[in-house]
Symmetry: C5
Subunit: 82 residues, 5 copies
């Protein structure tokens, strides 16, 4: 997984019909770069989050495979980083 | 997912027979780099798009696994980026 | 797989309910960069570890697909590096 | 998918027995870097090609999973690149 | 797939029980970087090898999913590189 910080929200009115309903957040990844992740937790801007990527992100959704390759799986509350 | 901007179209007359019919767009990825994504939405040049990658892109297609590892899943209409 | 060194622990009180119970370690990857990996082995800070990524990491867990894309699969005890 | 240009051929007499018979081409990727892709189309040196990566590349082959993570899916004949 | 050159061996006495028995080799990747790949072929140090990555690497193993995301699939014997 990777750590990141929520930067804002993305809206996409015109999208494929298999995209699940919910928030798409723009996240700045620790170490640089940005990605868009599906947020099932209702995270706020500037919140530190944990993101999983690839097919395991899509597997969070049940039914037809969701076209989601990045999922916020947790809000980070503490770290013992050196 | 990643954000990008449509730059043009790719034509491939000679291709494997499992490639689905449809548009293959060249997209400039936010942060640098380019990739080719399948476009089921009819996006225009310069349009900002949301792209999913990997096996979840292929899962959009039904029947035999499509050899597609990048799919435009939405057109981006607004963002609250800092 | 990639080699890394454990740097600390991550806590996430608010997380998706499919995240397995267990330690989430921050690992500094050989060659640069950091990632968060699930640790089923009880590794210590500064321990050199071997990490697998992607859907094969999630497949370590049984039952519903775990949203885990990085797994510590071993503690490295020796290398014949040039 | 990514675009690339065929640079040459790779031979591997000693290989795992699940590797499908066929050409393995070295491809220079647009933007830099090289990879080895399986070529089911008979592409020539200097030909511009479209490559898919990951498990969807392996899914092109039927029967036991092929250990192929990069597949040439088309020869590029034209582009409207800006 | 990617090309690389074997640099040495990794030992991991303490590992998850689903890790298959066999050699784990450290490989220097063409273009830079290193990774650890499972070697079913008995490759020697300095040998040039072909590596596949991701879930297709794990699919080489039968039975429960192996936590292996990089597999040596061949020894490279010749190339017509420009």
């Amino acid at each position: 997984m990777i750590k990141g910080r929520v930067k804002g929200k993305i809206w996409s009115s015109r999208h494929v019909d298999t995209l699940p309903c919910g928030a798409l957040l723009e996240v700045e990844v620790d170490g640089g770069g940005r990605l868009i992740a599906f947020d099932p937790l209702g995270c706020a801007t500037d919140e530190a989050v944990l993101i999983t990527q690839g097919s395991v992100a899509a597997a969070y959704f049940t039914g037809r495979v969701a076209p989601v390759d990045a999922l916020i799986i947790g809000s980070i509350d503490e770290t013992t980083d050196k």
